[in-house]
């Protein structure tokens, strides 16, 4: 690993995003519009407080999954990955470079959406708002790590995009966003227990519900952290220097 190469890679990914104004605008605007829409739909009911915060974590997860799976697929198919791997670049440099750039992007996205939600949209958050941001960034990194992993199994951008409903929707359905996880059927409950997004949503819910951060929250966060590391390690294993 080499910090110079890692930072250069993060800078390069950010430069690519900077050239793509429309994607940047969509990344920030779409979650804001969706949150506003939700606040409006559930106006006058306690529903927005119940699902608003977990959604703050789901957005960065979905978005980073999509962006990363397409971006890495492009690296693989355009030959730039092949070129980089003939250079003194370790796979960790590449992964950390992407993680830094997308982490930064997720921070900006989460900061804007959270600020909008707790101010204009009146989302009630009992716990510290900065911790909501931390969870959102962790979710983004989780989405990134999974996106990187699945891009190895996609041959085209069409396939990569199809992995989104396949990987992300089941997690979103079972993470407790729609139905509290402890009311799920046992089989579903067990499945939701092994899906990392469930822990992110649990943490988000704790932070909004209580003003003290208990060991349960930190436990949830460490599960998410572990999932990120595991997914990144699996993703790294799919970045092969030699291909058939």
């Amino acid at each position: 690993m080499n910090p110079r190469i890692t930072l250069a890679t993060a800078g390069r990914v950010l430069a690519q995003l900077r050239h793509d104004h429309r994607t940047m605008a969509l990344l920030v605007a779409v979650p804001c519009v969706l949150m506003s829409l939700l606040a409006w739909i559930f106006d006058g009911t306690p529903m927005f407080d119940r699902i608003g915060a977990p959604l703050l974590g789901v957005f960065p997860f979905v978005v980073m999954f999509l962006v990363t799976s397409v971006a890495t697929l492009r690296e693989r198919t355009s030959g730039t990955l092949e070129r980089l791997l003939t250079m003194p670049m370790s796979r960790l440099d590449l992964l950390l470079g992407y993680a830094l750039a997308f982490g930064l992007l997720a921070t900006v996205q989460a900061a804007v959406v959270t600020t909008l939600s707790v101010t204009a949209l009146g989302l009630d958050v009992a716990g510290p708002v900065w911790l909501l941001l931390v969870v959102a960034v962790l979710d983004a990194l989780l989405g990134m790590a999974l996106g990187l992993l699945v891009s190895a199994f996609a041959a085209t951008e069409f396939q990569a995009v199809q992995f989104m409903p396949a990987f992300v929707l089941p997690q979103s359905l079972l993470c407790g966003l729609l139905v509290p996880r402890d009311t799920l059927d046992t089989a579903l409950r067990l499945v939701s227990d092994v899906l990392p997004l469930s822990y992110a949503v649990d943490a988000m819910r704790d932070i909004t519900a209580s003003d003290t951060v208990g060991p349960g929250t930190w436990g949830d966060l460490s599960v998410v952290g572990t999932a990120i590391v595991v997914a990144l390690a699996l993703g790294a294993a799919t970045l092969r220097r030699r291909t058939p």
């Binding site: 250069a8 390069r12 050239h19 793509d20 030959g79 791997l85 030699r242 058939p244």
Partner: protein, 244 residues
């Protein structure tokens, strides 16, 4: 046969299987240091596969590939081998300058190196243009420029002159000759036979095998032809006759 100690590339009994077919079968040759060697052969004969094996990104079934006395793809070689893939492998959403500065940082090359390679491929005036908006030939030259960064000892160039006009082709070949004079070894593939005369040595390939490994002059003499194209056809006929 060259002495292994002085050969820049040494390939022995190389066999590569792609998509269930033997794409290279028993390929053996040496490339002496400080020369321009042309790799010529019809489309699909295995030129790109051979080059991928030399830079260490191809899974090989058997045989040995050594580059400057080390196993192909060894970490120590990653600073001293420049590789241009057949399709331009640059970030089309970055400017020419951003692309080259990124690769320079990955290689640990001096910043001034970017200016040097831009001059060498005659793209200085395009430095701030987004690469995807360049013409095909210009984009190919950005890809070539990236491989020149850090002045590698060996350049493996897969069809670097495709899509270039005669004047540019002449300039690029003059650049290759200058590089070889200063001690760089170049392996350049092409399926345009008239480029052969610009090489000091030629490797003629057909259907995964080396047909001839000689100087252009010796090839012409051996086959009694006046140009490399008919020499090649002559060798193909000979090979078919001896196989029948």
């Amino acid at each position: 046969m060259m002495n292994n100690g002085t050969a820049a590339i040494s390939v022995r009994e190389l066999r590569v299987v792609r998509g269930g077919r033997a794409v290279l079968d028993g390929v053996t040759f040496d490339v002496p240091r400080g020369t321009v060697t042309g790799l010529l052969g019809p489309s699909g004969c295995g030129k790109s596969t051979l080059m991928r094996s030399i830079v260490g990104v191809q899974v090989v079934a058997s045989g040995a590939v050594e580059v400057m006395g080390r196993l192909a793809g060894a970490p120590r070689l990653r600073r001293s081998v420049g590789y241009v893939t057949q399709a331009p492998s640059v970030y089309r959403d970055l400017t020419v300058g951003e692309n080259l500065r990124y690769f320079a940082r990955v290689l640990g090359a001096r910043d001034g190196d970017v200016e040097r390679v831009l001059d060498e491929v005659d793209l200085r005036s395009n430095v701030d243009i987004v690469t995807g908006r360049l013409s095909g030939g210009q984009e190919a030259r950005v890809s070539l420029a990236a491989a020149l960064l850090g002045s590698p000892d060996l350049l493996v160039l897969d069809e670097p002159t495709v899509g270039l006009d005669p004047v540019l082709r002449r300039d690029i070949w003059a650049l290759f000759a200058r590089l070889a004079e200063s001690g760089t070894t170049l392996l350049v593939s092409s399926h345009v036979m008239d480029e052969a005369t610009r090489c000091e040595r030629l490797l003629l390939m057909r259907a995964g095998r080396i047909l001839a490994d000689d100087t252009p002059g010796a090839l012409l003499e051996r086959t009694g032809s006046t140009d490399i194209e008919s020499a090649f056809l002559d060798l193909v006929e000979q090979a078919e006759r001896s196989a029948a």
